[in-house]
């Protein structure tokens, strides 16, 4: 069985020293090993942005696609080979701005993949513009007088889109994050894990210290029941979206793959491409 070291490769990330993304990378590697995966059984599909580079930093199959489209690519991979564990990953701009349309529909569709958003509330790779996750009044290069748009709440959106697994974490909490990623991988359906990942270069507001002060861990509520949708939604709103932990899980809804008529449990990619002459004749018969 592979250890987390086997999910490492020799590529040095081009992230700034201190970037939250390093811990997320480590958590994915640990979680993959902890759930018993071999590197070739994992596919990491990422978008564009600093965070999008993550697929190249993990020793596994990886595809670094185009901006905002990690989710549809990841869903295509999963449909073609459901035996693979598929993790989609990207930043808050990737998933909640340009790719928001895909995020909502991937949640609705509920394929058995895990989506890890590295949420730093800013655009890093383009050197500091506002993101849909930026707070109102947040000053950036593109909002010199402060953002005048409201902040998007991905957890509320996910809940209302019918998510079956919603979690949030903080990059500094390696242990908690690793555990959530494991649970996300093991969840039979779409799992969203939003991870606060401070940008040490461009975001001087939402810093490590800021998160430590503002995060509300679910550990504080021993009676919290993540299977209750109303409770989950209330908790998200009460904490202004700063909640961390496993917020909601619906174990009863089947994954998309399990609901496709005639879809086999084996990888479609390994199935026969040819059909028989008899099958072909049947197809043609309706045109006579």
């Amino acid at each position: 069985m592979a250890t987390f070291k086997e999910f490492r490769n020799n590529v040095k990330p081009n992230w700034c020293p201190g970037c939250g993304d390093f811990s997320i990378q480590a958590a994915i590697q640990r979680a993959a090993a902890n759930v018993g995966l071999e590197p070739e059984q994992l596919a990491v599909i990422s978008g564009i942005g600093c965070s999008g580079r993550i697929s190249g930093y993990i020793n596994a199959y990886g595809l670094h696609g185009i901006h905002g489209r990690a989710l549809p690519i990841a869903q295509g991979v999963k449909l073609a080979n459901r035996e693979l564990t598929v993790i989609a990953s990207g930043g808050d701009g990737d998933g909640f701005a340009i790719g928001m349309g895909h995020t909502v529909h991937a949640i609705r569709r509920n394929l058995n993949i895990t989506y890890i958003v590295m949420d730093n509330q800013i655009y890093g790779l383009t050197k500091g513009q506002t993101s849909p996750r930026s707070a109102e009044g947040f000053k950036t290069k593109s909002t010199p007088e402060g953002s005048i748009e409201s902040t998007l709440s991905p957890l509320e959106i996910a809940m209302s889109a019918g998510a079956t697994f919603v979690a949030q974490s903080f990059s500094s909490d390696l242990k908690g994050l690793t555990s959530l990623i494991e649970q996300g991988i093991q969840h039979e359906g779409f799992s969203l894990i939003n991870v606060f990942s401070p940008c040490v270069t461009f975001n001087k507001i939402n810093t490590y210290d800021w998160f430590k002060e503002n995060i509300v861990s679910l550990e504080q509520f021993p009676d919290y029941d993540p299977s209750d949708r109303v409770v989950a939604m209330n908790k998200i709103m009460e904490t202004n979206g700063m909640l961390t932990g496993l917020i909601y899980q619906n174990k009863s809804r089947k994954s998309y793959e399990d609901m496709i008529p005639g879809f086999k449990p084996e990888a479609l990619a390994n199935q026969e491409l040819s059909i028989t002459q008899e099958q072909f004749d049947q197809l043609v018969a309706e045109f006579k």
């Binding site: 490769n9 020799n10 590529v11 071999e38 590197p39 070739e40 059984q41 596919a43 599909i45 580079r53 697929s55 190249g56 020793n59 596994a60 199959y61 990886g62 595809l63 670094h64 696609g65 185009i66 489209r69 989710l71 549809p72 690519i73 990841a74 869903q75 295509g76 991979v77 999963k78 449909l79 073609a80 080979n81 035996e83 693979l84 349309g101 895909h102 909502v104 529909h105 569709r109 496709i260 008529p261 005639g262 879809f263 086999k264 990888a267 479609l268 990619a269 390994n270 199935q271 491409l273 040819s274 059909i275 002459q277 099958q279 072909f280 004749d281 197809l283 043609v284 045109f287 006579k288």
Partner: protein, 577 residues
């Protein structure tokens, strides 16, 4: 006895025009006639004039006719809009309910049949299409039992009582009109057909069928006219073969999902039309850059923007050839017959894996939606080729990666699927090295660009150009693409009768352009006319740019939303020669 005639049914959209046409033509197909259909419809669901026209022939035909023999009209508007298309002595079968009148300048025989009344007497006005089609079928003197069989199949699901009622409706219409006309019309009596079994389908169905035969098991698509029938066909069929269709949230998701599925090893397609293709452009670049197989069908319609969404056009050629930023290898092929729609899909999937490039199959609305006879399809001709797909590659030594983008002589590298132990590599739309890792190294960049672009250096598809060249030195070489071939051939028959010799070339490989194959034909022709459904002569532009001979190339363009008619092509050719 006649060898061909044209029949048209018109009414309000949602009034049963489609189903009448379907039953009428299915019955004709059973008798072995060659059929070619044309749908005139609008982008709305109910209301608005719509009509379906079928040409019926004892010989192969691939074009609508200039005129019309029989018009079945559910309302006066259908007569007013279509009666002038009737040949002298043509026939109108109309519902007596609206007191039909024939325009003064039209010489036609009118049969006013109480279509709605008869249908209502039998139980429901819904059956008026049965009364109408029964009446027109009877005028042709064709065997009623064949027609009834088609009715039985159309309504069988609804139970024997419904079938019986509909057959009664057919009979009522037939008997009424025969009494009025004094029996079947002698001058509408068709020669017997060859009786050989043909298929009767639309291009989009042939594309769907071809995709299944090619091993396509997934489709991700967003609904759009005139492409939706492909996904609708495949969602009915793919589950039987373990696959499925995903209706995505938009065309960007459709194409990127297809890229992901192809990357993971399943032959996956998407299909769309102009606006959707515009949305897919960035992702087509990703497929080109990361060398993923990808098959996209573009069923062209009237552009730009929303344009004429239900009308014929061939104006996406340049967008397909040049679209996406940067430079990638890409194949664009244009089926020109219903049979091509089937066989070209097999070719498209093979090419996409052999060359690891996006392949765009470019049809047009008339080819995609025009229902027509198709010669029997030969499944034994279907060969699946997956190119340099590697299986069971030896395990990689510590830290080593699979050279997915290895520099090779032909530019095509070995490809391996996720899940293979010895195949781990990286894939990125960023410029990359042989194992897929990002690289900005200038030498690597140059080599990688050259590697990708040289893949198509020697590409030749089956019939890159389809040549019908009976004349060594023709007065005229007529060049077209897509659905226009049948119309061009019909025009050539008229040219021949008038002493003008012509050759005909259909360009099927649009990109890379098969210039060398075309050159000798351009050289030998007196004059060249390129016929296309667009306003800026895009095909002619490709020919001039790639093969030369600009001084002898003329264009006939049509961009009013309608397909060419044989007479239009004939007149333009005659004027030129």
């Amino acid at each position: 006895m006649i060898s061909q005639l044209s029949w048209k049914i018109g009414g309000q959209q949602g009034e049963g025009v489609e189903s009448t046409d379907r039953i009428f033509s299915t019955a004709l197909n059973r008798l072995g006639y060659y059929l070619y259909g044309y749908r005139h419809f609008s982008s709305r669901i109910k209301g608005g004039h719509t009509n379906n026209k079928i040409r019926i022939s004892t010989k192969p035909i691939r074009a609508i006719s200039d005129d019309l023999d029989i018009l079945v009209a559910f309302d006066q508007e259908s007569i007013d809009l279509n009666a002038r298309e009737l040949r002298k002595g043509g026939v109108i079968v109309a519902d007596a309910k609206f007191n039909p009148t024939v325009p003064e300048d039209v010489e036609a025989r009118l049969f006013a049949v109480p279509i709605t009344k008869m249908a209502e007497e039998l139980g429901t006005s819904l059956m008026k299409n049965m009364v109408a089609s029964g009446a027109s079928w009877a005028l042709l003197g064709l065997p009623l039992e064949v027609f009834n069989k088609a009715v039985e199949e159309e309504f069988g699901r609804k139970g024997p009582a419904i079938v019986e009622k509909n057959i009664e409706a057919v009979k009522a219409g037939a008997e009424f009109v025969l009494e009025q006309a004094g029996g079947p019309l002698d001058d509408f009596k068709l020669d017997e057909a060859d009786g050989k079994q043909k298929l009767f389908m639309i291009g989009n169905e042939a594309i769907g069928l071809g995709s299944i035969a090619a091993g396509c098991r997934l489709m991700s698509a967003y609904p759009i006219t005139p492409a939706s029938e492909i996904m609708e066909y495949l969602i009915k069929k793919l589950p039987k073969f373990g696959g499925t269709v995903v209706q995505t949230e938009d065309e960007i998701a459709a194409v990127t999902m297809a890229i992901g599925a192809n990357y993971a090893g399943v032959r996956t397609m998407t299909a769309s039309a102009g606006p959707g293709l515009s949305l897919m452009m960035e992702a087509i670049g990703l497929a080109g850059m990361t060398e993923q197989p990808l098959v996209i069908v573009n069923t062209q319609r009237g552009g730009p923007s929303t344009g004429l969404p239900t009308k014929q056009e061939q104006s996406d050629l340049n967008a397909m050839v040049y679209g996406t930023h940067g430079e990638i290898p890409k194949i664009v092929i244009a089926p020109s017959t219903i049979e091509d729609c089937f066989y070209d899909m097999i070719e498209a999937f093979n090419l996409s894996e052999e060359y690891q490039v996006p392949v765009i199959v470019m049809t047009d609305l008339q080819l995609s939606l025009g229902k027509q006879s198709c010669e029997p399809l030969d499944y034994s001709k279907v060969q699946i080729s997956r190119g340099k797909l590697v299986k069971d590659s030896p395990a990689l030594e510590g830290g080593e990666l699979f050279k997915r983008y290895e520099f090779t002589e032909d530019g095509v590298s070995p490809r391996i699927l996720p899940g293979e132990k010895g195949g781990i590599h990286h894939v990125t739309g960023v410029e990359h090295d042989e194992v897929g890792r990002p690289s900005e190294n200038a030498m690597n960049r140059k080599l990688m660009m050259e590697k990708r672009l040289k893949k198509l250096n020697n590409l030749r598809i089956r019939d890159a150009i389809r040549v019908d060249a009976p004349n060594e030195k023709p007065d005229l070489l007529i060049i077209g693409m897509g659905s226009t071939g049948g119309t061009i051939d019909a025009a050539r028959d008229m040219l021949k009768e008038n002493g003008i010799s012509s050759n005909h070339i259909t360009v099927r490989q649009i990109h890379p352009f098969p210039a060398e194959q075309l050159k000798p034909h351009l050289e030998n022709a007196g004059k060249v006319i390129v016929i296309e459904n667009n306003a800026t002569a895009q095909l002619a532009g490709q020919i001039k740019m790639n093969a030369g001979y600009a001084d002898k190339i003329e264009s006939l363009l049509k961009y009013d939303g309608n397909p060419f008619l044989p007479l239009e092509v004939y007149k333009a050719c005659k004027e030129l020669s």
